[in-house]
Structure formats: structure tokens, C-alpha cells
Symmetry: C2
Subunit: 326 residues, 2 copies
């Protein structure tokens, strides 16, 4: 029966050529690139709160790292290193091997090295701290939006929340939508793609950015509050909703709620001066990633986010986003 150290050695010890000292000592040692700032983020994932207990461990490994890389992306930072601490209810070698597979697939895809960690027994809990680099003064912060800046969002926020509704039995997507929609919704939930390249491309272009983890309107609200502005979102400029052959009012309502309030998509929401509109179009083309200009920042109550219909009337939504402990 292998002990903790043997398990860790077996599945998580990979070469770390970019670290001065990798896993296995009291600390890892990093030599930051001279002159660069270090962007640091930490996210804890708990079974039941952030993922279903029976989630495929390979997808879970991917997502555990991806949600942290999404925070680096939202700052425009280049991902470099990560640590992983985990509490596991038991030392199931197959589960750990599959988790490690997914984790390192994501690490390799984004050029990240795992430099250290901690393993313990306990209710399933996964905590990553991720490190990226960015030149001083260049990070995309939440507090840089200006009145009249345009508001943008990448990809199709809401798909992950639709995927979750499917897994929870609240909707039958395959019966309502043609492929690839049902598949895309599950993929958005289970294997989110952190917008690392987009974040780096937006450095010097965007005025503020955040990743959509709590819900589009809630996260846009964070930008608005920190920037001391209000935000106006135009309903007709939001990304098209997934649609079947026949219009289904229930599905459309659910899809819209997921789009504005569903968490877990890890798209980027950002603001930029109007003068950058064409540059952003070129970034979208270069990355083959749709970028939607969905509204503009306004002078107004700090943090207020309003969705307007084509008649200029505010649209009310039941939920605005996900907040823990409410």
C-alpha cells in the first residue's frame, strides 16, 4: 500500500524545468523574470458546491486548474506555475491517476508547471494557487473602465449553466436542441477553456476585465462598482441563444437566464474605449473566438448594471448571479 509520498511521486511529479526547485522540498523556488510582476490567484473547489460529486475525475482535474488560469487570463498575465493542495476521502489510485491526467492536460495546454502541493485525507476539496507574469502597469484590472467605454464578452456565456441544468435533470437539451448544442453545453461546464490568449491580446487594448465565473451581470457589476460607473447592456446585442427547429418559450427563458446569470463559463467580460472597436474585431478574427460588444459604461450609480430591451426599457431578471453564503 503506497504512502502519501509514493502516490504523489507517482502521479504528480513531473519535470519543472522553469523552476529553480520543484516539488519535494519544504518550498519550491522560483526565479521570476526580471522586471515582471507576479499575478497570483487561488481558487478552492468543493464537491457539491463547485462540481457534482460523480464528476469524471479527468474533467475535474482539467477544470481545477482551468478556473485558476481564467483568473490569470482576466489580468492579461502569462501563466507560469501552479501549486495544488487536495483533500481526498481515500487514496483511490485510479481516481488520482485520472485527475492527474486532466490536470496536466490543462497545464501542458497553457504552459504551466506544477511546482508543489499538499495531499491530505478529508472531504473532497481541491485548492490551486496559480502564478502568471505581466509587465508592471499592464495588468487588466477591474477598476479601469471609463464612462462611454464599450462592454464586451467572449464566447457564449450561459452554456455551462445550461449544461448543469441538463445534468441536474431540469432540462432535456438533446430533446430540444440539435447537436452540437447539447455537447457544447456539457463541454463548457466540464472542460472550460480559460481565455488566456485573449487576455494577453487585450493588454493595452481593454480598460478593465474580469472572468465570468459568477454570472455575466454579476461580474460586470464588479467592474462597474470598482470603476465607479454604471453599465448598460443591450438585450439585442447579447450572443444569440441556442435554438431548436421550433421556438420553445421555456427553453428560451432558461437560456437567457443562464446567459445573464449563469456562472462557471470562464469567458472574459471586458471594457474598452470605442477607438479600440476595430482592434478587438481583429483579435476576435485572429483567435477565431467571437467577441460581442454588448453595451457601454455610463455615468450613474456605481455598480448598477441594467439590461435594456429594444424599446429602451429595463429588463428584469430573477437571478443576477451566484454569490456564496447568501
Amino acid at each position: 500500500m503506497p504512502g502519501e509520498f509514493a502516490l504523489i511521486d507517482r502521479y504528480f511529479a513531473r519535470p519543472t524545468p522553469s523552476a529553480a526547485l520543484g516539488p519535494g522540498d519544504d518550498c519550491a523556488l522560483l526565479q521570476p523574470t526580471p522586471g515582471m510582476q507576479l499575478a497570483v490567484t487561488t481558487d478552492m473547489l468543493v464537491a457539491g458546491a463547485h462540481f457534482l460529486p460523480d464528476t469524471d475525475p479527468k474533467n475535474l482535474g482539467w477544470k481545477t486548474l482551468a478556473v485558476n488560469l481564467s483568473d490569470l487570463a482576466a489580468m492579461g498575465a502569462r501563466p507560469r506555475w501552479a501549486t495544488l493542495a487536495g483533500a481526498l476521502p481515500d487514496a483511490d489510485a485510479n481516481w488520482i491517476a485520472a485527475f492527474a491526467d486532466g490536470f496536466f492536460a490543462c497545464a501542458d495546454a497553457y504552459g504551466v508547471e506544477l511546482i508543489g502541493g499538499d495531499t491530505t485525507r478529508g472531504p473532497l476539496n481541491l485548492c490551486v494557487t496559480a502564478f502568471g507574469e505581466i509587465a508592471p502597469g499592464r495588468a487588466l484590472r477591474r477598476d479601469g473602465a471609463q464612462v462611454d467605454d464599450q462592454i464586451w464578452v467572449s464566447g457564449r456565456p450561459g452554456l455551462a449553466a445550461l449544461g448543469l441544468a441538463q445534468l441536474q435533470g431540469r432540462v432535456d437539451l438533446p430533446a430540444l436542441l440539435p447537436e452540437p448544442w447539447p455537447r457544447l453545453c456539457l463541454a463548457a461546464l466540464e472542460k472550460p477553456q480559460p481565455r488566456v490568449a485573449l487576455g494577453q491580446a487585450l493588454v493595452g487594448v481593454a480598460s478593465a476585465a474580469i472572468d465570468v465565473s459568477d454570472g455575466l451581470l454579476a461580474d460586470l457589476g464588479h467592474i462597474a462598482r470598482r470603476s465607479g460607473c454604471a453599465a448598460a447592456v443591450r438585450l439585442t446585442r447579447l450572443p444569440h441563444l441556442p435554438k431548436g427547429e421550433r421556438y420553445d418559450a421555456g427553453l428560451q427563458k432558461l437560456a437567457r437566464e443562464c446567459q445573464v446569470a449563469g456562472g462557471d463559463d470562464y469567458e472574459l467580460c471586458f471594457t474598452a474605449p470605442c477607438a479600440q472597436h476595430n482592434a478587438i474585431g481583429e483579435i476576435a478574427a485572429g483567435l477565431e473566438l467571437p467577441l460581442w460588444c454588448i453595451g457601454e459604461m455610463l455615468a450613474g450609480p456605481s455598480g448598477a448594471v441594467t439590461v435594456f430591451d429594444p424599446d429602451g426599457q429595463p429588463v428584469e431578471f430573477q437571478h443576477k448571479g451566484f454569490e456564496h453564503f447568501d
Copy 2:
């Protein structure tokens, strides 16, 4: 009812003058001191495995950070920053306030700034990642011990394990030992003092170091294995055991087991060339911290740790240390 963000703002947002950007954005931003390496460590504490569920939250806050600073101490690094991620079963404001009190008492004592974190609902779990700085090539690693180096340990390893035995009802310390022993045992368990000043003083003096978290012999074994040596510990040179007015064989046996195999003390175990013996004595005097020269490294089976009695006979112990998942 305050939401997650209000709770965090209220208890955990403190000024972070040494960070380029503190909590509240997608990432914190750090500007490492030019030319220095970054030492990074992460530790996860789980109720039941690392602390008793009814632990005083103020002590728990201290210990959650202290065990990470101990890893920085074991590298000789200067503590700078930390992140804190926590899963809490509920948002009990009193508990969180007391935990924050203890956490920041430790942070202030060692010059650490909390630069970011994450809060979520779940079974109680606390995960800190801590960052220190050290000049390139100067870190105290586990793999630097040489044959004939002397082996040292600070303070009185074993007190924390005795304190735990007291809390678990396995021994009645106040009935067996005069004060301050019972109080010192509980303090060692509940409010460990990371040996940060010692670690920094040992840079350029010690050849290898580790903090005693799993047990003295087990942790010394890590140094021995990584350094490709064996280790000989002299029973009579171990720190004196706590003793009452009358000799109690049961207590002495328990105290010895705790000394060699008890975890959770966060003393430093280190090796150094004999030529550094006097320098280490001066460090002990300067820090008013006892440092015990308990043995020496040998050519021999890599990782083997043997305790010898005064007749040169090996002494066997039931437990050698704590390993998860065994």
C-alpha cells in the same frame, strides 16, 4: 445578511502596502525584489485530520498561517505574502472574526501580508499558500547534508504531541507534570512558533534543513534520503524530557515517543558541518532558543535513521512519524 464579499471585506481586507495590487481583483500583483528567488509553499488543514473540530478559531487562524511560515523558515526564506482559501460549513461571523484575529496576529508577527483568497461553503478546510524571498543559491534544501555533518534540532520537539494526547484524554499532564509543562504542551500544539528567525540565521551555516511536521525521525529521514546519507541520533543528546517530581515510566515512554515521532511541532531539524558548531551556539544564544546537537550523518543506506543508546545499541520505536494515507 452580508454576502460572501461583504464578509471577506469586513474581516480579511487589510492594507497590503508591499503588494502592487491586493485583494479584490481577479489576481493580486506582486513585484518581487529584483534578483531574489521566490520560495512558495502550500498547506491544507482539514478538521479532524489536522486539528480538533472544536479548536479555538483564534488559535486555528494563527496555526493555519504558522505551519506555512514554518516551511518558509525551513528554506531560510524571508516571509512576504500569503493567500488564504477556506471552505466553511456556515458563515458564522463570530467564528470568522476570531479566526481572522489569530491569522493576522501571526501575519503581523512575521511581516506577512494577505494578498488574496477565496471563500466557499463546504466541510471546514483551510488552505494557505505562502511566499518568501531568498537570494539565489542560498536556500536551505533537504538534499545538502554531507557525511559527518552534525544533526541539530531546535526547541523541544514532542511537546505538541503531548498536548494532543492531553486533549484526547490519553494522558493527564497537569496531574503528572508541574507547570509550565502542561501549558507549554498545549501552546506548542495550538500556537506553534515558526522558526523564521532561526531559518534565516542558518543561511550559509546549515547544509540542509526541514521543519518537524511529521515527526523528528521521519523528517530527518527526508533529509537523509534526499542527501543520500544515513543518520545516527544519540539518545542521550536528545532534549531533556519533561519530568515531574517522581519518575513515571509511562509518561517517560509517551514523552519519548512524542519526541521522536510526534508531528506538529514546527521546530527545525538541520545539518551543518562540525566547523559550524560554535556559530550555531552563538545563533542559539542570540535567539534565546535551545539548539541541540543530536547526532551526525553517516555513510550508509540512504534515508536510514537510527537512534543509538549509550551502549551503541540501536533503539526501536513503535512509531516513526505521521504519514497520510498509510
